[in-house]
Symmetry: C2
Subunit: 586 residues, 2 copies
């Protein structure tokens, strides 16, 4: 038997008991007559003591021990003379009577401690060692608990978890598919699913009413920071529901998680904000509502006073940064440089200080009187001591720059506390989005999203005007999930495909099975999918989903630990009737 | 709102209530003055009644309705005059006051009933309609409950569910991998995992102690009946355990499932049978223990009496079929033909009838006296009224033929009741298996399985003699799962690779990450994996795993509903630097 207890379990009440423990050597402290070893496992650390009471055969073995050795010990629990209140086992230690070295360890390439000396790349290569560290292990424990709680909640709501296949058909909309050549059907390919979207809709046609799945999805995209080629989705679909039914049930799921994971209770409903308002007031369809600073449009209020910059643009707007009237010249210059960076793209920034004495100081003093500035300040909800920050330019790019500036100010003012959570729903998304490059409409959500009933009349005359029964769930400025009520009738689905420039033939080839299914009594249905990695990272207070994935890939889609992808035997390619073409260096 | 209740919910206590229901039209019975519609959803069927009380505008709408139409109705719950005790809602019906047709349906290609008229292929093509049928839906509901119960149990035992990646490296042992070309790393490939074996071992190196995952696995094999290219595994691994710890915890999991799914309590421990005994007594490493009929070897007892067949072979054995002494000539001839089929491969069959009057009748009367036959009968545990069936030949093929004959007799005697369950553990498997074609050893379980400590001495001298710390979980003759204690030290793992003819270099390339990991303090560990599809099908009383998979593939690895795999655009291939070679027809 390897252990009677774990290394996180023993307390003062165990004093006097004979116990057996197994674990890793965290540290060895040799104080001459006494040696202390901190023995670690998943559950905690227990201190082992070796002194004059230790059997004589054991002491020489200590010489050979090193960090990360795996040992099994037997001994007696004794009370510590100097207790460590920071450790759950800090009241006791083990007087060791038997020691077995179960396995040796080379010196790890980085220290196995909360703050390690290992760089990102090294830790990824030795991910199995990085996973020994408390903060990383705790992330995966959080993920496990999230998974359990989600399943418990949805099972309680009569959702059925149904596994959909991973070897599916390639679909044209959306991102690129990962392909899987079929050996039994040479020259033919499966695709890995970007999401089980169409399959879950088929399950609704089958009458499964309430479906969910925590499922891997795959997208072959050029990876931006914090994207993974494979990621996990909490995928849900319901029949005989409208948008309110879905928001209500998944708001309860979110509250269940906030309560069970973070101990936070929300008594109020989550705010619902339309896409239009989100863009207008926050310049983003995923507003961070942990703090205010909503935008005020000034376009009509500030023109015609001779300030050419304002007079020549189609949008002027800004927000009020509370208590920032004392910002120095240097701070304001830095903010100006910040918004002028190519990633933000503003031409410049106008500020108005509403000083605590009631006076105004602004970068546009020359053009606007204190009375003008006071009007702005009052309109924008400012009080003495506040600072107005104003940008001008093309509407969409200025809103987007204001969004980045707002988040920066939120950071500077410490308003983006990772232990505070501000969930909201963004609703009433546009159905279609015009792509200027391809000169055609794309589905804002996806091609199966239902337009709002009152907008269906514009399908031919003014498709860009239509709104969708689509919604996103946003927490702290991060899009955690989204969904929609679906089209459930073949004719409307055909209309949608035409609006997207997908021909009847193409639709038949790619989605024939779904259109067919709709001919046999499809119920009204809709659903939602949450990014599980993202949900975990937000609740875990981290900006990176990688921290919540056991074996993530890097930005080139490589697993540096497994060293994959990799070359394969010609024999394997031959069996697939495939040939790798000469690779041109990019 | 689409419904206030489901179609399985209303009882006599609801009489008088106004309700709204939505669902599918199961049947329409027009009896002249009255029309009855059976309205179906996932939860049941409710009878709707249309008669002289129905608003006049509704009656004409009934003409247009057909089977599988989706409708929403409002009405009042009334007590039925003729109740149907077979239906949970059989006490009531709905007097309908509002009717909305939510969607039409074409006539389905087969009837949506428990016993359908649809053939296998048609039902696979329209799987979304097949899933509407009760028996199929119940299978997926069983699967959902199994999943929930497994997670609940393992979570309670402090197992952590950790998702391992699907885009991994190709490994040489085992079946063929499905490959996934990498666009970002042209000319390189990922593989889909045949199982998370090495990754879960890395998690043990990481200290995760108790891991599980319900996870898809992929094998590109030529599909035999009831194999799927993608299947689901309940994958588990534990550290600081020996074989008994693992068997004990997963026996409790199995008992938890038998109890919670089937209501069956097992007070005794499951039988443990060695591989050697299983082969000797049942001719199979997955014995069906729902019934006895163990084999008795007769080789030494029956030779030298002039019966050439027996005298010339190295193995003679048989079993006693209780109460079958009255088998007719015809039945015995049929059994002989049965064992002579190429799939069974016996030369012939010897029978001995131990008649109820104590006399004997046998196909080898000429060579053996009644006293001889009586000795056999007593040795084989027969009593008057029983029948002995005996085969002879090469040991391994005869045992295998006896196994098939035994199962056939079990079927004939009704001893293989699908509602009865006989679980057992098969233990002490051989470590290696000699492959006569390739003239080398293969791992019986897999290359990471630990030999029994006392057998390690034979690694060089007599590798075939070694036993493994490996075990299978078998129910009703079906292998549900298997596992082993793993090698956790690099040197022993290297020895194993040499025994398998895997060179140091090859091992380094393919398993370098694992061997590396073992150098940094790997704990003793072991695990098990259950076939989830199989476990569901056995508990569901079915022989086919396909019945328990929402969207299965056929024997050519095709999903006939999605019509995949399929040809893809040249553009997609170009991006992957791939070319499909001309396909030779096989």
């Amino acid at each position: 038997m390897y252990r009677t207890h774990t290394c996180g379990e023993l307390r003062i009440s165990h004093v006097g008991q004979k116990v057996t423990l197994s674990g890793w050597v965290q540290t060895i402290r040799n104080l001459g007559g006494m040696t202390f070893i901190a023995l670690r496992d998943r559950y905690g650390i227990t201190q082992l003591v070796f002194d004059e009471n230790t059997p004589k055969n054991i002491l020489p073995m200590l010489e050979g021990l090193g960090r990360e050795y795996v040992v099994k010990i037997a001994g007696t629990v004794i009370e510590r003379s100097s207790k460590n209140p920071k450790m759950s086992t800090g009241d006791i230690e083990i007087s060791v009577s038997e020691l077995d070295v179960l396995n040796k360890s080379e010196i790890p390439p980085f220290t196995i401690e909360d703050d390690t000396d290992g760089g990102d790349e090294l830790r990824m290569k030795y991910r199995y060692l990085d996973l020994r560290r408390n903060p990383v292990r705790k992330n995966l424990e959080l993920r496990h608990i999230m998974g359990q709680e989600i399943r418990k909640f949805l099972d309680g709501e009569k959702f059925i978890e149904i596994e959909t296949p991973y070897l599916v058909n390639s679909t044209p909309e959306g991102a690129r598919d990962f392909l899987v050549p079929s050996r039994m059907n040479p020259g033919e390919f499966y695709a890995l699913p970007q999401s089980p979207q169409t399959l879950k809709q088929l399950l609704m046609v089958s009458g499964f009413d309430r479906y969910f799945q925590i499922v891997k999805c795959f997208r072959d995209e050029d990876l931006r920071a914090d994207r993974q080629p494979e990621f996990t989705q909490i995928d849900c679909e319901m029949s005989f529901v409208d948008q309110d039914d879905i928001l209500s049930i998944f708001e309860r799921l979110a509250k269940h998680l906030f309560y069970n994971i973070k101990g936070i209770t929300y008594n109020e409903a989550f705010p619902r904000i339309t896409y239009e308002d989100a863009m207008k007031y926050y310049g983003s369809d995923k507003p961070d509502l942990r703090f205010g600073m909503r935008f005020y449009e000034l376009t009509e209020k500030v023109k015609g006073k001779g300030f050419v910059v304002f007079d020549s643009v189609d949008y002027i707007g800004g927000f009020c940064a509370k208590g920032c009237s004392e910002y120095s010249r240097k701070q304001l210059d830095e903010l100006t440089l910040f918004v002028q960076r190519p990633q933000v793209g503003a031409k410049g920034m106008v500020y108005v200080k509403y000083n605590t004495d009631g006076t105004f100081k602004s970068s546009v003093d020359k053009f606007y009187s204190p009375e003008d500035l006071k009007t702005w300040a009052e309109y924008m909800g400012a009080q003495p001591g506040d600072l107005l920050l104003i940008l001008a330019g093309k509407e969409s790019s200025t809103l987007s720059a204001l969004n980045i500036l707002r988040l920066e100010m939120g950071d500077q003012l410490g308003l983006r506390d990772k232990d505070k959570f501000a969930p909201c729903w963004v609703v009433d998304f546009p159905l279609l989005e015009w792509d200027e490059d391809e000169k055609r409409f794309f589905a804002k959500h996806h091609p199966f999203t239902s337009p709002k009933t009152e907008d269906i009349q514009y399908f031919e005359s003014d498709p860009g005007r239509m709104h969708a029964n689509a919604y996103d769930f946003v927490v702290n400025g991060v899009e955690i999930g989204g969904g929609s009520i679906r089209i459930f009738n073949s004719e409307l689905q055909q209309k949608m495909f035409s609006a997207l420039g997908i021909s009847k033939e193409e639709a038949e080839v790619k989605f024939g099975f779904l259109l067919n299914a709709f001919r046999f009594g499809a119920p009204p249905h809709g659903g939602i999918a949450f990014g599980f990695d993202r949900f975990c990272s937000v609740l875990g207070g981290s900006e990176s989903i990688r921290d919540f994935i056991a074996f993530p890939k890097n930005n080139s889609g490589r697993d540096v630990m497994l060293d994959t992808p990799s070359k394969i035997d010609k024999k394997q390619l031959d069996e697939l009737y495939l040939n790798v073409l000469p690779i041109q260096k990019k």
